[in-house]
């Protein structure tokens, strides 16, 4: 295995594009190193992107916030600007693993690992985030929900890297939230995850909403029916009941060592409802 730590995205892309055999991007390494050590993957090349200055930055841009591909969750969680604008995305990123993992794990890594249970992904999908992808043929911007196509598989082509995540600028009276279910209080992979983002009109009526669920299908789901249950309502109990039912109905889970189908379907509704309530409170506070 060869280890490279290029200084620019261009160099990193060139290394990956030219690589013979298996090449992997190393961001936080909290997934890659586990697989490397257990012998599940035996890459010929590992490209560490943490020496690329742009990748380590969170920057305010005209139409939102840009989070570099190598920004660890801990740094994201310490960033007042992101915390204020997208508390749901931050709380999701902060749920990834322990304090130690937080010091390394990145939301881009979480996204590109393509696990249906990735905590930050439903929150980013709900937020309408996009991924800035750089490759040998240049730059493209895609919705985050289009990055993972199946467990462990992404739509990225050879040589492509997600350089950053773009979180859009928020209209006033907006709020987002993410909740997950785990059997312990920490250290587990989500059994169910629910992210909700909504915007209220001046009259308190929900104008816009996005609802995403994790760990209930082969990919993170954007549940339009659940969002539709909120839009045009004051997000009252009736709307929340409809939202919960739509969330549960959208689930296509499996039975596995972390939970049963039955459990996931029920809890998806419960969490979507609770996340929506928190998002609502945040939206009401946000002018």
């Amino acid at each position: 295995m060869r280890y490279e730590a290029p200084k620019t995205t261009k160099e990193a892309v060139a290394l990956l594009a030219k690589a013979k055999g298996l090449a992997h991007v190393l961001a936080g390494g909290t997934d890659l190193l586990v697989r490397l050590r257990s012998g599940q993957v035996e890459p010929d090349l590992v490209v560490d992107i943490k020496r690329i200055p742009a990748m380590g930055k969170i920057s305010a841009v005209a139409n939102g916030i840009r989070i570099g591909g190598a920004v660890p969750s801990a740094v994201l969680g310490e960033h007042a600007g992101v915390r204020k604008a997208w508390p749901g995305v931050v709380e999701a990123a902060k749920l990834i693993g322990s304090t130690q993992i937080q010091g390394r794990a990145t939301v881009v890594g979480n996204l590109c690992n393509a696990s249906p249970a990735a905590d930050s992904v439903p929150a980013m999908v709900a937020a309408g985030a996009t991924a800035i992808v750089v490759g040998p043929k240049g730059r493209r911007e895609i919705p985050v929900e289009d990055v993972a196509v199946a467990p462990g598989k992404t739509s990225l082509r050879k040589g492509e890297i997600v350089e950053s995540i773009h979180l859009p600028k928020r209209p006033p009276r907006s709020g987002d939230a993410y909740l997950r279910f785990i059997p312990r209080t920490e250290m587990d992979i989500a059994v169910v995850g629910a992210g909700v983002s909504l915007t209220l009109g001046p009259d308190g009526v929900c104008r816009q909403a996005r609802v995403a669920l994790g760990a209930v299908a082969a990919r993170v789901l954007l549940v339009e029916e659940a969002a539709a249950a909120l839009v045009g309502t004051k997000v009252d109990d009736k709307a929340l009941d409809k939202l919960a039912a739509a969330a549960s109905a959208a689930c296509r889970p499996i039975d596995d060592k972390r939970g049963t189908k039955e459990f996931r379907i029920k809890v998806a509704g419960v969490l979507a409802r609770r996340a929506a309530k928190t998002a609502l409170q945040r939206a009401r506070r946000g002018k």
Binding site: G97, S98, T99, Q100, M187
Partner: protein, 159 residues
């Protein structure tokens, strides 16, 4: 297989080593540098026994490549005491019987020190969640939490 040459700082000392690309920082510390205070309990970042700080950030050294330490500053359990002077956390862990077998202790100390550097007066809740990535199977955590609370109090007073 060519090795990677790394220049880094460990516990304040300049250190150079050669390591294989796939070697972890934990392997380098333990097998190449004789710093066996950091322990491998799982190798997957789930137990925290290998906790070190990397440029002041708490990480699991089993999930860091040795090559990544180039130009960084690493701190391990071996660097917590100053000469023969134990850190208050080290004294309080002994005083409160916060260890039974002691295998998890280095990781808990490194993690607790990182906590108190950020938050000199953590609540029990904050301590428990900060330390959730450090597994202890002997104590049930009770005496560990008490030791951290007590060390924090002492450190606040002596400031």
């Amino acid at each position: 297989m060519s090795k990677v040459r790394v220049s880094t700082t460990i516990n304040g000392d300049p250190v150079e080593y050669l390591c294989a690309a796939e070697e972890t920082l934990l392997d380098v510390l333990r097998d190449r540098l004789g710093l066996t205070g950091s322990k491998e309990g799982c190798g997957t970042g789930d137990c925290g026994a290998c906790s070190v700080t990397l440029d002041g950030r708490l990480v699991c050294s089993c999930l860091v490549l040795g090559a990544e330490a180039e130009g960084r500053e690493v701190r391990t359990v071996e660097g917590i005491a100053k000469g023969d002077q134990l850190h208050p956390l080290q004294r309080k862990f002994i005083e409160h019987a916060a260890l039974q077998c002691g295998i998890c202790t280095p990781g808990f100390l490194v993690a607790s020190k990182a906590l108190l550097e950020r938050n000199p007066n953590p609540t029990e809740h904050e301590i428990r969640f900060w330390l959730a990535g450090n597994l202890c199977r002997c104590t049930g955590y009770d005496k560990i939490v008490r030791a951290v609370v007590s060390a924090a109090a002492e450190m606040r007073e002596s400031r």
